[in-house]
């Protein structure tokens, strides 16, 4: 790749969900700090992986970028425009370039619409293809994702999970977007079907020049598909680096623990591995710990971790870590 072009720039993004009490006079008593100040770039043509455990805010990040949730504060720059400030017609037009593939292929397709209607709907709304041209386009899209063009008249229940996910991909492609947010697109699928969908996403990226934000909790799959990876914990990004760099040289204690927890499909490696076992559970995002978010489970935690928020600093080229200490990666497996 020549000079990398920034396609999407996220700056200090916050998303808090209010917690309300009272039935008639509802008042806000607290907030779920789902996304708590994150910044990153997505470069044109790359796949940025976003990993973390359930409840860490990775899906909320994806949805807030697409303005499906409006951010509490912060900016999302896409081709020069701040999506967080766009409204109505202007935002709707931008949405053409930003699409999403959802996690659950069973819940994300309307059971009362045919596949042709599902894929045709975005074209209908944005007026890009109509009538016979639309029918043709739907068939082309179905073939592009490896389904028979004649399936356009069928309903979602006639398809398996993997096929439905392909329909979801076709719908996301209908408007020729530049960026697709893939929100755990394969975690509901069986292993052998996961590989089919991942290969499809890779093929589409190389033929159509797409950029992906790939949200997942499966670290081995994220490594496979991403160019760079961001690790989230409790609403913040704790580490961001190039794929190989992150896995070979993880510098945040959470990343280290996360990587060491992933089982390898290899008994010879598993025999020799030592795991970092984290104690306890993720704290509640309603009342996150002071200072460093991870300190309550961190084996290296010192006083400073409770007092000060660690800066998100660049420790080597393009490798960012939010930790007060310099903990060099001693990954157990490799």
């Amino acid at each position: 790749m020549t000079e990398k072009q920034v396609l999407l720039k996220v700056e200090n993004l916050y998303k808090h969900f209010p917690i309300k009490k009272g039935i008639i006079f509802s008042r806000q008593t607290g907030a779920v700090h789902a996304v708590d100040g994150i910044s990153f770039n997505i470069y044109n043509g790359e796949t940025l992986g976003l990993v973390g455990e359930s409840g860490c805010g990775k899906s909320t990040t994806g949805r807030t970028i697409l303005q499906l949730y409006r951010p509490t504060s912060g900016s999302v720059f896409f081709e020069g425009d701040d999506l967080a400030k766009l409204k109505g017609e202007n935002l709707r037009r931008k949405r053409r370039d930003l699409q999403m593939i959802f996690q659950d292929p069973y819940a994300s397709l309307n059971p009362r619409m045919t596949v042709g209607q599902i894929i045709g709907e975005p074209m209908e709304i944005h007026g890009t293809y109509k009538g016979a041209a639309q029918t043709k386009r739907v068939q082309d899209l179905l073939q592009l994702v490896g389904l028979n063009g004649a399936f356009a008249n069928r309903y979602p229940h006639e398809f398996s999970g993997g096929q439905r996910q392909r329909i979801g991909v076709a719908r996301a492609l209908a408007l020729e977007p530049k960026l697709i947010v893939c929100d755990e697109p394969i975690s509901a699928l069986d292993v052998s079907i996961q590989a089919q969908v991942v290969n499809l996403l890779e093929d589409l990226q190389s033929t159509l020049g797409l950029t992906y934000l790939f949200i997942a909790h499966d670290l081995s799959m994220v490594r496979h598909i991403s160019d760079r990876i961001a690790v989230m914990y409790l609403g913040i990004i704790v580490e961001l680096a190039d794929r190989n760099e992150l896995y070979a040289n993880p510098r945040h204690p959470y990343t280290q623990a996360l990587l060491s927890a992933v089982p390898y499909p290899d008994p010879f490696v598993e025999e020799k591995r030592k795991r970092i076992i984290l104690e306890g559970d993720v704290p509640s995002p309603v009342n996150p710990p002071s200072g460093c978010r991870f300190r309550t489970r961190c084996q290296y935690a010192k006083e400073i971790c409770a007092e000060e928020k660690p800066a998100f600093r660049e420790i080597s080229k393009d490798h960012f870590v939010a930790c007060h200490f310099d903990i060099s990666g001693q990954q157990s497996a490799s």
Binding site: E53, S54, S160, G162, D190, V191, S192, I193, Q194, A195, Q196, V198, N199, E202, H217, L219, S220, M221, R223, H224, N244, Y247, A248, A257, L258, L259, S260, A261, V262, P263, Y264, P265, D266, P267, F268, V269, E270, E271, R273, R275, I277, L278, D281, A333, S334
Partner: protein
């Protein structure tokens, strides 16, 4: 080591509106004392159904075990009367279910539920049973176990509920613990906690474990032997190292190839298995994997291969074709 469980020719059918689904089609395997057996396969391959059939936990109707034997300590679990099987379930063979969110009763306390098997099987009083529950909750690493006895399931996190579930499974010190995807609903760091816990308990208590999963990664570090299931059959069985180093069935080879590995530095395109798992409206008279198999030959469409021994001790595969040479054996 002595044989603890011997399952022979197990077949289970489900009556549905579309017809009879042949979910399990002749499953046979043995389990030795203290052994950890991994059962791997994708959804609908019959891995859970075969275990639940063995314990007579299949809802009937629609399900029915139509053939087979499951000998535990010489007695057939499938033909004994209800009282006899009740004395085995939860006491000598216990199950940890997949979903820690729904397998507890939300209106009973954790303490009552964890202690229940002990009260029932050992006719113990409430106090004694609760004391024992504390011991096992501590064993699985629940802090302040005594204070948490009166908590309800919703007050526990997912990982803690799964621990409590394991404590409930262990309270009668069973000879066999069947774990049905116990970590699938959990995050990786919590999954790692649970796996370390189970390994430690296995070494301390010396029970045999049957671990059902779709994740080949978990099994690699845990099992002694692995059964790979497809279409209601065991299609390959081998000691754990053989199955990863030297997989013999095209399905196992495909499954391992479709997994990305964290330790690979070079990009490798995943080998996907085309097509879909079969819908078993009849007992397959041919190889159930044939429609998706790269090596399929004429014979594969006509006859269903049984398990037969291939190179290596205890390594059996159900395939007509040797995938190394692409020719029939």
């Amino acid at each position: 080591m002595a044989e603890l469980l011997k399952v022979e020719g197990l077949e289970t059918h489900f009556q549905t509106r579309e017809g009879v689904i042949h979910a399990v089609n002749g499953v046979s395997f043995n389990l030795k004392e203290g052994e950890t057996l991994g059962i791997v396969g994708e959804s609908g391959c019959g891995k859970s159904v075969s275990m639940m059939s063995m314990l007579r936990l299949i809802p009937s109707p629609p399900g029915k075990v139509v053939a087979g034997k499951a000998l535990f300590e010489g007695n057939d679990l499938l033909t004994m009367n209800d009282e006899q099987i009740r004395n085995i379930r939860g006491a000598k063979i216990s199950v940890v279910f997949q979903d820690p969110m729904t397998s507890f009763n939300p209106v009973l306390t954790i303490g009552d539920q964890v202690a229940e098997p002990y009260r029932v099987h050992h006719k113990a009083g409430k106090k004694e049973a609760l004391d024992r529950a504390v011991k096992y909750l501590e064993l699985v690493g629940i802090p302040n176990a005594r204070e948490r006895l009166s908590d309800y399931p919703h007050q526990f996190s997912g990982g803690m509920r799964q621990r409590a579930m394991i404590a409930m499974g262990l309270i009668c010190e069973p000879q066999i613990l069947i774990a049905d995807e116990p970590t699938t609903a959990l995050d990786v760091t919590i999954q790692a906690q649970i796996i370390e816990l189970v390994k430690r308990l296995r070494d301390e208590l010396g029970m045999a474990i049957i671990w059902i999963t779709h994740d080949l990664g978990i099994i690699a570090g845990l099992a002694d032997r692995v059964n790979v299931m497809y279409g209601g059959h065991i299609i390959e069985t081998a000691p754990v190292k053989d199955i990863y180093k030297n997989p013999q069935h095209p399905y196992t080879i495909g499954l391992l190839g479709s997994l990305p590995r964290m330790d690979e530095t070079e990009y490798r395109r995943l080998t996907s298995i085309d097509g879909l798992p079969p819908i078993l409206l009849e007992k397959p008279s041919y190889c159930p994997f044939e429609p998706r198999c790269r090596y399929a030959k004429e014979r594969c469409r006509k006859e269903n291969p049984g398990l037969k021994q291939v190179e290596g001790d205890g390594h059996f595969t159900a395939c007509w074709v040797n995938p190394k040479t692409g020719k029939e054996y």
